[in-house]
């Protein structure tokens, strides 16, 4: 297995009124081009920060992030956006944050496909998610679990090379979480998940344990 994403000696520091806060200190991880990689660790260990860095949303203070072996930190903001548009899908913790709530389910999938310049195949994606017949539903009509699955559906619709998800089950009840886990397990692209959910960790092909310094 080749490495799709690599973080090398990544250091992230935030300046706050109280002084500098180190969120990540010399972290190195590699994400293979298939299977599920889990970033596990307690709250405050920097899982979400690392996920943002890996998804090219945030630049590290120092260190390098390689995508398909190419360095991304020196790239301009526009080039990084282009990479995000084409290759990377990020799913947030709160289901509603992953969707445009005033659009229908189908329009959310179409919007995701359009963002990546991909053809739209709404019915196939909904079938795959186990949400057939919901095309014309408004987002608020879906349950939290359904919304989160739809978020992964959007990632599929975009044809992203990798899906990164931040605590995707933390705001769901057990039944909904199970359905999301099933969806995650069936995604045909490599997945990176930040979570401390043991059920999710148990599904992982590769796990990085992070500790709060």
């Amino acid at each position: 297995m080749a490495d799709l994403l690599q973080a090398q000696d990544v250091h992230v520091t935030y300046r706050t009124p109280a002084g500098s806060v180190t969120a990540l200190a010399d972290v190195s991880v590699s994400v293979p081009d298939q299977g599920m990689t889990v970033l596990a660790g307690p709250s405050g260990s920097g899982k979400s920060t690392l996920l943002r860095v890996l998804s090219l949303v945030e630049k590290p203070t120092s260190g390098e992030v390689l995508l398909n072996g190419s360095p991304t930190v020196p790239l301009s903001a526009a080039r990084r956006r282009a990479l995000r548009r084409k290759d990377i899908a990020l799913v947030f913790q709160n289901p509603a944050d992953n969707l445009i709530t005033h659009l229908t389910v189908a329009d959310n999938l179409r919007a995701a496909a359009q963002a990546a310049g991909r053809p739209e195949d709404v019915e196939a994606v909904l079938e795959q998610l186990g949400l057939p017949g919901t095309e014309n539903w408004r987002v608020p009509a879906l349950s939290g679990g359904q919304q989160q699955r739809l978020a992964f559906g959007c990632a599929l619709a975009r044809g992203a090379s990798v899906v990164l998800a931040d605590e995707p089950t933390s705001q769901l009840d057990a039944v909904s979480a199970d359905l999301v886990l099933q969806t995650l397990a069936t995604l045909p692209v490599p997945v990176v998940v930040a979570s401390h959910d043991p059920r999710l960790i148990s599904l992982a092909d590769k796990t990085f344990s992070m500790v709060a310094a």
Binding site: T16, V57, R81, L83, F92, D97, Q114
Partner: protein, 829 residues
């Protein structure tokens, strides 16, 4: 276009509050801008109408006047009719004053012909239009009767005797007054009433081709021009017509100066309101920016998702425009419509120049474009800063760190210096208009702005400190303070806008009212009474009695040089004393008892204390002093009538009355008392300089009203935005034992304290600043008295009542949300 952008306009409907706020923001913004443009145009039209009102209606169109041979005059009149086409032409022919012979006593008179003249005379006897019409004065003097033929039978028979024309004449005669209204107390032959001939041919027969005639050619207008452009077009057209006529008589264009002056007036008002409009524009655009920031916060999740999918800041800025653009543009259009519809409420005239609405529309379009640019810029900047920029240390916000109040205070000092040095600007006697110094005009507003900024800073600091306050013995007060402190930002904003609104309304309406009363006061002092007429000395000598209807409201005053000869018993009945006490004047006049050969005199103002000789009067010995006096102003002397042994030696005699001019002259005509030189307080002074300041500050008050609406909406929105917080905290508090009445009183205290603070600060700042500024804002400083601050109590009461209404509404909103809160809402996240 991708779906999130394509669906953005519809997304606006997902938040009615944002929709309403966006519409309201540009509505108010474009209202102020459009109203400023329309107000400037309206002021020009109002100035035009005002000046036309001071002209005779038939002199508005350029006219011809001259003195020439009859045939030349007739030729000119006939050519005028031919050249004018459909335009009505009215030519008047008048001989010089002569001694018409009706076989009786010799008298003075002149012959005249003007088409339709007999339709505008009051017939006393007869009335057939095919003969000569003789004025009553001549008929009585020469014992003329109906059927008589004057000039040894050369004239057609007399068919009517009419009442002599006298001032004030109606509009049909206004431009002919010099020819047709005699001066009955002038010297013999100076002037005389007109004997109207039935036709131009019969008049020619009277002249026998030897005499020159006065010719007047008028072009009556069905409708007078209402705007500067219309007036200018009339002038151009009229002057071209007169040029084509080419008659050997004088052309007069009485409208030329009014057109110039009205243009200046419109420009003056426009430039005077420009700074306030610019400030309002900036405030409005800042409001648009705030709406955009709130939108970015509300759409944070969606924007972050789009950002993660590769959208750039500019694209997200475009997303903001697509969602907020339509409401903003709609608000702009509504603002333009509101400005047009409310024109009668805030502008001095509803007549607008042809392009005014188009100009206003272009400005509103500019405002809409600027608003959209602000939305793009703010949304782009904010999303860039949020998602792409490096996290930065949270510093104290620079906006609150800058001492803005020092800056505005410095500007206020500068404008005060301008005001005391130049007054309103270049207001010199003889100049028709003051060129308003905008910097000077801004003084009271800058004081209000400075005070508002200081109040906002004090409030902000107090709220920061307020956590030290422990008032749990008064839970309502403690809750109110904590609630205020928790929303320090919006509370400070509401206070700032509230103080500005109250201050601006007070400044605008105070200065406008002061100008209005100043014009009335100065006119009254200038004339000496509400209306005056010059009469013959027969009234002073007792040969003719003052008519009964004038007793108790009219007094007889003699004028010699700068000295008034008055009757102490009746003077205060007829004179305009303004704010001077009648008792004080009466007492001062009664003290002027003549002793020996001297006439004791009241010394007015800074007049000399040495004895003075005035022609026709005994030696004046100045005694007690009054600072000002009607007619005299601040210089002159006043003596009792009893001190003057030779009343016939006094320069002229006048009746001063509190009655309107029409009633005074009607009473005199009825009693057969001759008079001339009428003066009416309402028209004696050119009020345009006062009106310009009044219109300018009228607009200031209108902008203040807009700010008041902004403050009220902001307060209600602030309550509605934290509806859930209020509901949760209120419901929890009541479940913990707080009585609903106590909760209501805490909301009333919270909002009432804010409103009271705004009212007190705004009213005090405006009262103090206008107290200093109003006497300096004097368009006619050479006339006493200087403008004074009007009574502010009614305005203050209205402000308090309005504020209480808003406070009660907001408190009710807050209480309602607490009372209808459900348990589910309390336990939800």
């Amino acid at each position: 276009m991708q779906i999130p952008w394509r669906a953005a306009p519809r997304a606006a409907l997902s938040s009615p509050l944002t929709l309403v706020v966006s519409i309201a923001t540009t509505l108010l913004l474009s209202f102020v801008v459009a109203a400023a443009v329309l107000h400037g145009s309206s002021a020009g039209s109002a100035a035009m109408t005002y000046q036309e009102g001071r002209l005779c209606e038939q002199s508005v169109h350029p006219v011809l006047d001259g003195n020439t041979g009859f045939d030349a005059a007739r030729g000119a009149a006939e050519k005028a009719v031919r050249e004018a086409g459909d335009q009505p032409v009215l030519a008047g022919f008048y001989t010089g004053v002569g001694r018409p012979d009706f076989g009786g006593l010799a008298t003075y008179g002149r012959f005249g012909f003007r088409e339709g003249a007999t339709d505008h005379l009051t017939v006393l006897q007869g009335g057939s239009k095919d003969g000569v019409w003789v004025p009553e004065s001549i008929a009585k003097a020469a014992k003329v009767e109906l059927g008589d033929r004057g000039e040894n039978g050369a004239l057609p028979p007399v068919t009517a005797i009419y009442a002599d024309l006298s001032h004030p004449v109606d509009e049909w005669w206004c431009s002919e007054a010099r020819q047709v209204v005699p001066n009955p107390i002038g010297g013999d032959g100076e002037s005389a009433s007109v004997i109207w001939m039935p036709s131009l041919d019969s008049m020619k027969a009277v002249l026998a081709g030897h005499e020159r005639v006065a010719l007047t050619v008028r072009f009556p207008q069905a409708e007078l021009p209402r705007t500067i452009a219309e007036a200018d077009a009339l002038r151009v057209k009229g002057n071209a017509l007169l040029a084509r006529i080419g008659a050997p008589v004088t052309r007069s264009d009485y409208l030329k100066k009014p057109v110039e002056v009205a243009g200046m007036a419109g420009g003056n008002v426009g430039s005077a309101i420009l700074p306030l409009t610019a400030i309002s524009l900036l405030i409005g655009l800042a409001g648009v920016g705030t709406v955009t920031l709130q939108w970015v916060q509300r759409r944070h999740g969606e924007l972050r998702m789009l950002w993660c999918r590769g959208s750039g800041p500019l694209a997200l800025g475009g997303r903001a425009v697509l969602e907020l653009g339509l409401p903003l543009v709609l608000g702009g259009a509504l603002g333009l419509v509101a400005a047009r519809l409310l024109l009668p409420v805030y502008a001095p005239s509803t007549a607008l120049a042809a392009g005014a609405v188009l100009d206003a529309s272009i400005w509103v379009l500019g405002v809409a474009v600027a608003s959209l640019l602000v939305v793009v810029a703010v949304a782009t900047w904010k999303t860039h800063r949020t998602f792409q920029g490096r996290p930065v240390v949270l510093r104290r916000r620079w906006v609150s760190a800058v001492p803005w109040e020092l800056l505005t205070a410095g500007l206020a000092v500068f404008s005060w210096n301008q005001l005391v040095r130049n007054g309103l600007g270049t207001s010199e006697k003889g100049s028709s208009l003051p060129t308003i110094d905008t910097a000077a005009l801004a003084f009271p507003l800058l004081v209000v702005l400075t005070t508002a900024l200081v109040a906002a800073r004090v409030l902000r600091l107090s709220l920061g400190w307020s956590h030290h306050a422990n008032m749990w013995s008064r839970p309502a007060a403690q809750l109110a303070v904590r609630r205020l402190a928790a929303a320090a930002g919006p509370v400070t904003g509401v206070l700032l806008v509230g103080v500005l609104a109250i201050g601006t309304i007070a400044v605008g309406s105070s200065v406008a009212a002061a100008q209005k009363s100043s014009l009335a006061e100065k006119s009254g002092r200038f004339v000496g009474a509400n209306s005056t007429v010059q009469v013959s000395q027969d009234l002073a000598l007792g040969r003719i009695a003052i008519p009964e209807p004038l007793r108790g409201n009219t007094t007889l005053v003699g004028v010699s040089d700068k000295t008034l000869v008055v009757d102490p018993a009746t003077f205060t009945d007829g004179a305009y004393l303004g704010d001077t006490s009648p008792d004080e004047v009466r007492s001062a006049l009664n003290g002027l008892k003549k002793t020996g050969d001297f006439a004791p005199a009241l010394r007015i103002g800074r007049s000399s204390t040495t004895e003075i000789r005035v022609p026709g009067l005994p030696l004046l010995r100045p005694g007690p002093q009054l600072p000002t006096f009607p007619k005299l102003g601040t210089r002159g002397y006043v003596i009792q009538r009893d001190s003057v042994p030779g009343l016939e030696q006094v320069g002229s005699w006048h009746l001063w009355s509190t009655l309107p001019m029409t009633e005074l002259t009607a009473a005199l005509r009825t009693a057969g008392v001759h008079y001339t030189n009428v003066q009416d307080r309402a028209t004696v002074l050119d009020g345009l300089p006062f009106l310009i300041v009044q219109w300018t500050f009228g607009f200031v008050a209108a902008v203040g009203a807009v700010l008041a609406v902004v403050a009220a909406i902001a307060l209600l929105l602030a309550i509605e935005v934290r509806r859930r917080q209020n509901a949760v905290s209120g419901a929890l508090s009541t479940r913990m034992g707080l009585r609903p009445a106590m909760l209501l009183s805490s909301h009333l205290m919270e909002l009432g304290a804010l409103a009271a603070f705004a009212v007190v600060v705004g009213s005090t700042a405006s009262a103090v600043s206008t107290g200093f500024a109003v006497p300096e804002l004097d368009p006619a400083p050479w006339l006493n008295p200087a403008p004074v601050l009007p009574n502010l109590a009614p305005l203050l009461l209205t402000t308090v009542a309005g504020s209480m209404l808003v406070v009660f509404a907001a408190a009710w909103l807050a209480l309602r949300s607490a009372r209808v809160a459900r348990i589910g809402e309390l336990i939800r996240g």
